[in-house]
Symmetry: C2
Subunit: 425 residues, 2 copies
């Protein structure tokens, strides 16, 4: 361990700040070479890493962690190949740094516009998955930022080895090793101290459960990405194609039920509930989904149809299930659906299924969320799916960036003005 | 007075939130008509306003406020014409709301992209100038936001009348009166309460001195625009055209010495100091500028040349003078200048005067500020000058928006996705 005290942490902050100045000016070539080096190391120089990971997993098992948790922790040669491929993909994305925006010659002859620049130092606090270490580094580095990583205590050995590989990749490409900083001490007090290091950290990105995200949001003195919590609704309108509704709803819930863009609450218009709800529910039930229904939905689905339907409790509305459970409610109007979404949604991903043009347009206009869908699965909310290549996370705030945050969303800009002696009248 | 308690303030917040939903969907036509109505009322229905302002000014005089303060408070028919013209100009600017960004058809046939939307509710806390009431309202409203205004206590009567005119302008155009909310109670405790109303306020914009800006930045629970404080340097490089240096420096300092983009510290390369500094200082001195010089600058400017040059104190570096005073320092290298700017600058506006291409490029690359200039006056940092039409303020932060904040900078976006049944593989 090298990080023992708050003073060590301040030194890490200072080193990250100092490296940030260098990283901001690296050529795309050096940055891409670093990511390619890292990909190769992950694939072909991973013995120490896999051993460290085996030790982490053994300790987790000894400590009684669930098999699901251990699976999140586990690295395999195959998973490392996937992580390496991600880095090659990030290398292939356009470099956002230096992009000139709205550059124009003003009437007085000055050339002025915005130039995209890195944010500086990005800190990330995350939980058990060690691949996040590589993912966050890759995106921060390609966008010209240095980063401070603080992973979960269960993955400490794995993360230490991953950071060692990242450092080798950096020096191998002639990039400053300081571009990655690692807090190799799971002491929670150091997280508190980190969140006060406003002078060294420009943005903090929490990656993990609702508790972590909320803690960071409430305690960070620097800007933080608020997000990652998705209470997602799909509203089946009276004018829905009910086969499409069944198909899209099924995908939104069961493709991956544990991610933030998965369906939580299904809202069905009363005009199509008697016909549509049993068809939708049949598919969900066949995939093992448990439905928490309001009284009208329950009376339609009834007992005995082989559907696991139970009465919803008040706390089911606005709940992020992250499992094979969904709430179901029948509404009488689109207004009621919109109001339910506004009351209970978390501003992440919301969808309407309809063939009615005006209903579709109104939903797009009025729903206030990072991603608003017509006739598609909310599971598409993802940086790669939206063409950003990759993402550090999904923002549900309105400032700076909303929705998936890719390379550009990790940048700022400055105005540059090139004159030849202009003075302001 | 209608705002008496924190509960009243919460009602104001709720009303602003509710109005925001309506304002977000107003047509450009209705918004522009409102601003034109307001401009006409300011010019031709201003008796009550001018009387209220006369009462404010009389009370300020009785309370012993300085003439400079009273001048900031004063409204005249001529000043109102200027404010009205500003509103007509904002009306003529393109409406940012609804702009589609990077909208594209994805490989699976979904049409997806970002749509620009208003932020929601913008609160502004400002000091004595009553015209800020109109300026902030106009920009927030045109960008589809509702606003909560809390002006200085000296301008309470004037601001109340202005808000009355704004409400008439709104209802006259068929827009919701609730789009403007006014805190008509100067109690400081209500400001504290306002800064905690995160559920109702999406962004707070402080407009005023350093103390106010810092207070809001430190106490707001919602995002705040950090900025308005400008410690601005102009660096005269060894390769500068010295006539240009004298001319640009003079403009940067004396055109308007009391604004945030005015020059505070002049840095001069030692290779040209003996020749250049007296020429630059002569112009400044002729305009009444007092120079606080480091020892080398002082020895060059010497006594007896008719220049008001005094020894600089340590606190002169990094000081925002807002008056006819400037600090002067001789540096031996461009590195020294860059380091001085990094140490003492506030990230607002910084300039280099040089004919050396590499020095110019390096300055643009390495200086981390909202606006970085080559061979031009820092006084250009302004929304209208940069082609934004107008501004609510100048941000020195890196998140969300940097530099002048115009209409677009008061917006966010949401992803809209139009499918026909797509599910994610």
């Amino acid at each position: 361990m090298t990080t023992r005290t708050v003073e060590d942490l301040l030194n890490i902050g200072q080193a990250a700040r100092s490296a940030a100045r260098q990283v901001a000016r690296l050529s795309s070539g050096v940055k891409n070479q670093t990511l390619h080096n890292l990909a190769s190391l992950l694939e072909s120089d991973n013995e120490a890493l896999l051993q460290a990971n085996a030790d982490d997993c053994a300790e987790a098992r000894a400590n009684g962690l669930s098999e699901a948790m251990i699976d999140r922790l586990l690295l395999t040669p195959d998973r490392l190949r996937g992580t390496a491929e991600e880095q090659r993909k990030v290398a292939s994305l356009p470099d956002p740094v230096g992009e000139a925006m709205e550059m124009a010659t003003l009437p007085n002859g000055m050339v002025a516009g915005r130039r995209r620049i890195p944010l500086g130092v990005i800190a990330s606090i995350y939980e058990s998955r060690p691949n996040v270490t590589v993912d966050i580094f890759g995106l921060c580095f390609k966008s010209g930022n240095s980063c401070i990583l603080r992973g979960g205590k269960e993955a400490l050995r794995s993360n230490s080895e991953l950071v060692r590989l990242i450092r080798r990749a950096l020096t191998g490409a002639g990039a400053p090793e300081g571009a990655v900083q690692f807090v190799d001490n799971p002491d929670r007090n150091l997280v508190d101290a980190m969140l006060k290091m406003r002078q060294y950290i420009d943005l903090v990105v929490p990656r993990g459960g609702e508790g972590l995200v909320r803690f960071v949001g409430e305690n960070a003195t620097m800007p933080a990405v608020t997000g990652g919590v998705g209470v997602c609704h799909t509203y089946v309108d009276r004018a829905a194609d009910l086969d499409m509704a069944a198909n899209v709803t099924l995908n939104a819930k069961v493709r991956r039920p544990t991610i933030c863009n998965a369906l939580d609450t299904l809202l069905v218009h009363s005009a199509v509930a008697a016909d549509g709800l049993p068809r939708i529910a049949a598919g969900l039930a066949a995939s093992g989904v448990e439905l928490h229904c309001d009284s009208r939905a329950l009376s339609i689905l009834g007992p005995g149809a082989g559907i696991n339907a139970q009465p919803a409790q008040e706390e089911d509305w606005g709940r992020e299930f992250l499992s094979l459970t969904a709430a179901v409610k029948v509404v009488d109007t689109m207004d009621e659906a919109l109001e339910h979404i506004e009351t209970y949604g978390s501003g992440h991903s919301e969808a309407i299924i309809t063939e009615d043009y005006s209903a579709a347009m109104r939903f797009l206009d009025e729903v206030d969320a990072a991603a608003v869908y017509v006739n598609a699965s909310t599971q598409f909310t993802d940086g790669a799916q939206f063409g950003l290549g990759a993402e550090v996370g999904i923002s549900t705030q309105k400032m700076h960036a909303r929705g998936p945050m890719g390379l550009r969303e990790l940048t700022s800009y400055k105005w540059v003005i090139m004159g030849n002696g202009q003075v302001r009248p």
